[in-house]
């Protein structure tokens, strides 16, 4: 009996100690609610700076649903674990963050915990926002707290067990969250360091462009090797980039500023929203991002000039034998894509398209199905969608033809099921994503025919 009592006591002690340690890891205190601060109490210069930062962070994209009010949340984010809905970050006192003091906002950005002390899902990319400085968090807070308050309660997430238990997020953080702020690299220039601070932090480029492990954390060893976003594939933006013509800092700067580049084509899908937001960002910051990312892409491989790539696509014309694919391309695509009219209003020569040389056919299929929608009230690139015009078989034939003629890479497999999936996901994407609200920067460029 005595032995049982000792064993029982040890077990009980272990359970209590375990629970205490676990509780300490999991539990976060609530931060006292405040009365919503008056918008006038914030310095207008700080609010303006916050607006630029919010654009850099692409906050409105996830926190706004199509047809909904800015920052009022409700947009579904598909994940392998179920669907997570973004929340209301307007200063509404009951359904938004109106009662959050700045300290609570900063804690959410740093460690993914809301004012009440609940762990937030890492779809909110605090694994990047942990790098954001106190000053930048203060400006973001000032900007968000001076937006129009919107009453919009959060939609319940649709997650499978056990992922619907917020306690698992505490474990996830223990494994994957590095609470570090950005340390400048003294060997690099100030522009590079500014770009690194933005890319690794607020701009959270890796959230889409870095592959994730089975538990949904970014794989640090494979940074920028390509990931996904909203059923689009996010290209590798390092040495593995599929771009036929290599990227450099000038091209990146132009692309991020304008939403297109003559050697690369037009931003679309979730990236269209990113570049649309970059229109509100100081050009020095966009340039810094370009400088840093050009370093990540690495030195350009030689022999892939624009002229060489386009000539390759031409010379492959005879080799790509499928007559049905060739006929669909000639009748449907070539009118714009071989017009010689420069982007953004002429279609890009498809030999230059990353979508055709990428490992994943989804972007090409998505764009064939839905086209590029015009931006309301602006001149912007357009492409009609062919989802209603072409059946699945016709799209698969066309995509195979484009792949073999323009990329010279092995054919994609399972195309018809990709097309079927894309029909479903693109309908959902178009009905819920906020979509670009303004054309990218530099109106003088846009207005050139």
């Amino acid at each position: 009996m005595a032995r049982f009592r000792i064993v029982g006591g040890v077990v009980a002690a272990l359970v209590i100690v375990g629970a205490a340690i676990g509780g300490a890891l999991v539990w976060r205190p609530a931060i006292a609610a405040i009365d919503p601060p008056a918008p006038q109490s914030f310095d207008p210069a700080l609010v303006r700076h916050g607006r630029e930062l919010a654009a850099l962070g692409n906050c409105s994209d996830c926190h706004t649903v199509r047809g909904g009010k800015n920052f009022a949340g409700g947009r579904p984010v598909p994940t392998p674990f179920g669907t997570i809905f973004s929340t209301n970050i307007t200063p509404d006192p009951e359904t938004g963050i109106g009662r959050w003091p700045e300290q609570a906002f900063r804690r959410a950005m740093r460690s993914g915990v809301d004012r009440e002390g609940r762990h937030l899902y890492p779809t909110f990319p605090y694994d990047h926002f942990t790098h954001v400085t106190d000053e930048d968090d203060r400006a973001l807070y000032a900007y968000l707290m001076t937006r129009e308050p919107v009453v919009a309660a959060a939609r319940p997430n649709q997650l499978r067990f056990p992922f619907n238990q917020r306690i698992v997020i505490a474990g996830w953080k223990l494994l994957f969250l590095r609470r570090e702020t950005y340390h400048p690299d003294p060997a690099k220039g100030s522009e590079w360091n500014r770009g690194a601070y933005l890319v690794e932090g607020l701009a959270h480029c890796g959230s889409c462009h870095t592959p994730r492990n089975a538990l949904g954390a970014e794989r640090a060893q494979a940074a920028f090797s390509g990931g996904e976003a909203d059923d689009w594939s996010a290209y590798a933006i390092n040495a593995k980039s599929p771009a036929p013509v290599p990227w450099n800092a000038d091209a990146l700067d132009f692309y991020l500023r304008n939403g297109w580049h003559p050697d690369h084509g037009t931003a679309r899908g979730p990236m269209a929203e990113v570049v649309s937001n970059l229109a509100a960002v100081p050009s020095s910051d966009v340039n810094a991002i370009a400088v840093y990312m050009a370093d990540i892409f690495g030195a350009a491989r030689t022999g892939r000039s624009r002229e060489a790539v386009v000539a390759q696509g031409k010379s492959n014309q005879e080799k790509a034998a499928d007559p049905q694919g060739a006929a669909i391309y000639a009748a449907t695509c070539a009118g714009c894509h071989e017009s010689g009219r420069p982007p953004p209003y002429g279609g890009i020569n498809l030999a230059l398209s990353s979508a055709l040389s990428a490992t994943d056919p989804r972007n090409l299929v998505n764009i064939v199905l839905t086209g590029v929608r015009p931006v309301a009230g602006e001149r912007s690139p357009i492409m009609p969608g062919f989802g209603a015009t072409m059946n699945d078989q016709q799209i698969a034939v066309l995509v195979n033809y484009l792949r073999s003629r323009f990329s010279g890479q092995p054919a994609w497999s399972g195309l018809e099921s990709v097309v079927q999936d894309a029909r479903r996901t693109q309908t959902a994407y178009l009905s819920t994503s906020a979509g670009p609200t303004s054309a990218p920067a530099d109106a003088t460029q846009r207005d050139k025919p």
Binding site: G67, A327, I328, A330, A331, T332, G335, G371, P374, I382, P384, G385, F386, A388, T389, M390, Q394, S431
Partner: protein, 166 residues
């Protein structure tokens, strides 16, 4: 190239290049002028017709993609004497001003109602969002689509009712 098509229930053999837009064939060969040439870029919706149950932009639809397909244009829905529910609803609501975009809107609304007999306002708006109209009868158009849904739902189209249509 010869393309076979069934247009408004009638078989046609069209002699034209494979890349000829369906719109050109409808208007120039078959004298079906309801579908309009607006932008020619698949951006305004004025050229919308129904092919195999789906609303398509006929200005960017080359013939080779619709080989053997069943095409319905506004002329195939009803006549002045016996308008289809969607046409009657648009007349009752006086939803056209200049009317250039309306044939396309009616065709897309028809395709919507064929697959979803009770669309919500949000669904109607989302469906018609790609159609451009500069006149500003948008609210009437929305009412007309709702009215058409009701007409189809209640089968309120006895011959007596049809005759009462202006």
């Amino acid at each position: 190239m010869t393309t076979t098509l069934k247009v408004n229930g009638q078989d046609h053999r069209i002699e034209a290049d494979a890349d000829t837009p369906l719109l050109y064939v409808l208007r120039d060969e078959l004298q079906l002028n309801a579908a309009k040439f607006g932008c020619g870029l698949g951006q305004c919706g004025a050229c919308t017709v129904i092919v195999d149950g789906k609303a398509v932009l006929s200005c960017v639809t080359p013939l080779l993609l619709v080989e053997g397909g069943q095409v319905t244009t506004l002329e195939g829905l009803g006549t002045v004497a016996a308008p289809a529910p969607i046409q009657r609803a648009f007349m009752d609501e006086q939803a056209a001003q200049c009317g250039y975009c309306i044939a396309g809107m009616m065709m897309r609304a028809q395709a919507l109602l064929q697959r979803n007999s009770k669309p919500t306002d949000a669904e109607i708006r989302a469906e018609l969002a790609i159609h451009l109209c500069r006149c500003g009868t948008h609210m009437r158009i929305l009412r007309a689509v709702r009215r058409a849904a009701h007409l189809m739902d209640t089968a309120e189209l006895s011959p007596a009712n049809q005759e009462s249509v202006r």
